[in-house]
């Protein structure tokens, strides 16, 4: 794989903490792609994003942003990056507007006009002190701060975590509008799978620090099916199945490769075959659970 011209290239990224090890993770993200980093708590999503954003020093491996290593004493790569974590470090006693002004003062490509537009669109109260903003508004402020310099890469670490569903939808709506116009690549970590369903082109699944799978969202939707059928035989080893339930001759399987599964079922002479699409949330749950939960009753 060529790593030239990529928004992000991770090669052999590793980070170890007591009781946790990330990687080695290899990941390449093309410009303009929205990639969701999906995994349960402790999967290594935040560590991966923090390694890319320069907040955590990897133990091994390299991180490149648009071809430049994210060295701590080089600022060129930072002009390309907007970062939103769960905590933001704003100057609490200063207003939202003043925080944005001082952040903008450090970016050479900062656009006051763009920021004003986002403040209006997000309905952020600019004259409110950062410490007095609601969690939702603090998130909005963080997003504006990260987008004010029109970064080519946006790193979002659970940006909607802890927000109520209404505010979360509002934030995602506006984020979607903003991102639709731009060419930025986005790496978005979350365990709220519905967020990802809306925004991501591709999904990367992490579990226990390991990269399990990377796939286009559409490809997942096309290949995964819930299939029920009648068959008086054991069907636990059907091609492509990741989950199997059986009551008598009634079977229900979840297949990650519907074509292979259906072909084999036809060959076995299964009857009453019915297939139904799965949501991305359901697929993600199955992927993260792994292939070790086939059960028979």
């Amino acid at each position: 794989m060529s790593f030239d011209g990529l928004a992000i290239s991770l090669r052999g990224l590793e980070k170890r903490y007591p009781g946790f090890a990330l990687g080695p993770v290899d990941l390449a993200i093309e410009p303009g792609t929205v990639v969701g980093l999906v995994g349960p708590n402790g999967a290594g999503k935040t560590t991966t994003l923090n390694c890319i954003g320069g907040l955590v020093a990897p133990d091994a491996g390299t991180v490149e942003i648009y071809g430049r290593p994210n060295r701590p004493d080089d600022t060129t790569w930072k002009h390309d990056v907007g970062y939103v974590g769960e905590e933001h470090g704003f100057y609490g006693r200063w207003t939202a507007e003043k925080n944005l002004r001082v952040i903008g003062g450090l970016h050479r490509t900062w656009s006051d006009q763009r920021v004003r537009r986002m403040i209006e669109r997000f309905e952020l109260p600019p004259a409110t002190r950062a410490m007095d903003l609601s969690k939702g508004n603090r998130t909005k402020l963080a997003l504006i701060a990260a987008l004010g310099h029109s970064p080519r890469l946006l790193l979002l670490d659970e940006p909607t975590s802890g927000l109520d569903p209404l505010v979360r939808n509002e934030v995602l709506d506006v984020l979607w509008e903003i991102l639709e116009d731009g060419e930025a690549a986005i790496l978005y970590s979350t365990h709220v799978l519905s967020d990802i369903s809306r925004l991501a082109d591709e999904l990367v699944f992490l579990r226990q620090g390991q990269n399990l799978l990377r796939s286009e969202k559409e490809a997942l939707s096309e290949s995964w099916r819930r299939i029920s059928f009648r068959l008086d035989a054991d069907a636990a080893t059907l091609a492509g199945t990741v989950d199997h339930k059986r009551v008598g001759i009634e079977h229900q399987v979840i297949s990650s490769d519907q074509e292979s599964t259906l072909q084999q079922l036809n060959e076995l002479g299964a009857e009453n075959i019915e297939e139904s699409r799965m949501t991305i949330d359901e697929i993600a749950v199955e992927i993260l659970r792994g292939k070790d939960h086939v059960e028979s009753r």
Partner: protein, 198 residues
């Protein structure tokens, strides 16, 4: 680096103004208060998780680290300037009226501030060692040994220079050690394995 220091000064200007007035009025006690407030304000910045705001910005990690040692130094530095100015003025007035200089002459204040600056930076180095080691015993021990070594060198330097030289040489030696400590703190900061905890 100056941008970040300027931001901290602007953010805490009300507190700093009071501290610097106290430093001017209370002389050496005021300087001690300045040093303590400098460290306390840095701690307040950490409590607001300022690093999470600064590090993703287009500044180098060394610049962020440098701003963290320069800011408290500036708090003490400006306090010292205010105190030395007032001490100098008082002495000049007293000499003018024929009463002789006060014990807190400007030079006396500067010498005291130099010692205080060393202790302030030593405290910051120890704090950075604490973070850097992440509580791991061996590294902490090594860090502790390094601090003891630095303290030993400082003490011996003070004694040697005081025996053979003047207060000026003691002050210059201490200033040199202070700069060394600042460099060590910044170097440790740059090598922190993570900036997300605490």
């Amino acid at each position: 680096m100056w941008n970040l220091v300027r931001l901290s000064l602007a953010y805490h200007w009300k507190t700093l103004l009071v501290v610097w007035i106290i430093a001017a009025l209370l002389s050496k006690l005021g300087l001690v208060i300045s040093a303590i407030v400098g460290v306390a304000l840095l701690s307040a910045e950490d409590k607001e998780r300022r690093l999470l705001l600064h590090l993703p910005l287009p500044v180098t990690r060394a610049q962020v680290g440098l701003s963290r040692v320069v800011f408290p130094a500036m708090v003490l530095g400006v306090g010292t300037a205010a105190s030395a100015l007032l001490a100098g003025l008082s002495s000049a007035i007293l000499v003018g009226v024929g009463a002789g200089p006060t014990a807190n002459s400007a030079w006396n204040v500067l010498f005291f501030a130099t010692m205080l600056m060393y202790l302030l930076q030593l405290l910051l180095t120890m704090g950075e060692l604490q973070v850097w080691t992440g509580g791991r015993f061996l590294r902490t021990l090594m860090g502790g040994a390094a601090v003891v070594l630095l303290l030993g060198i400082a003490t011996l330097t003070w004694i040697a220079v005081a025996m053979f030289g003047s207060y000026l040489w003691v002050a210059l030696g201490t200033a040199g050690l202070t700069l060394g400590l600042m460099g060590l703190t910044v170097s440790l900061f740059r090598r922190r394995p993570s900036f997300t905890s605490g």
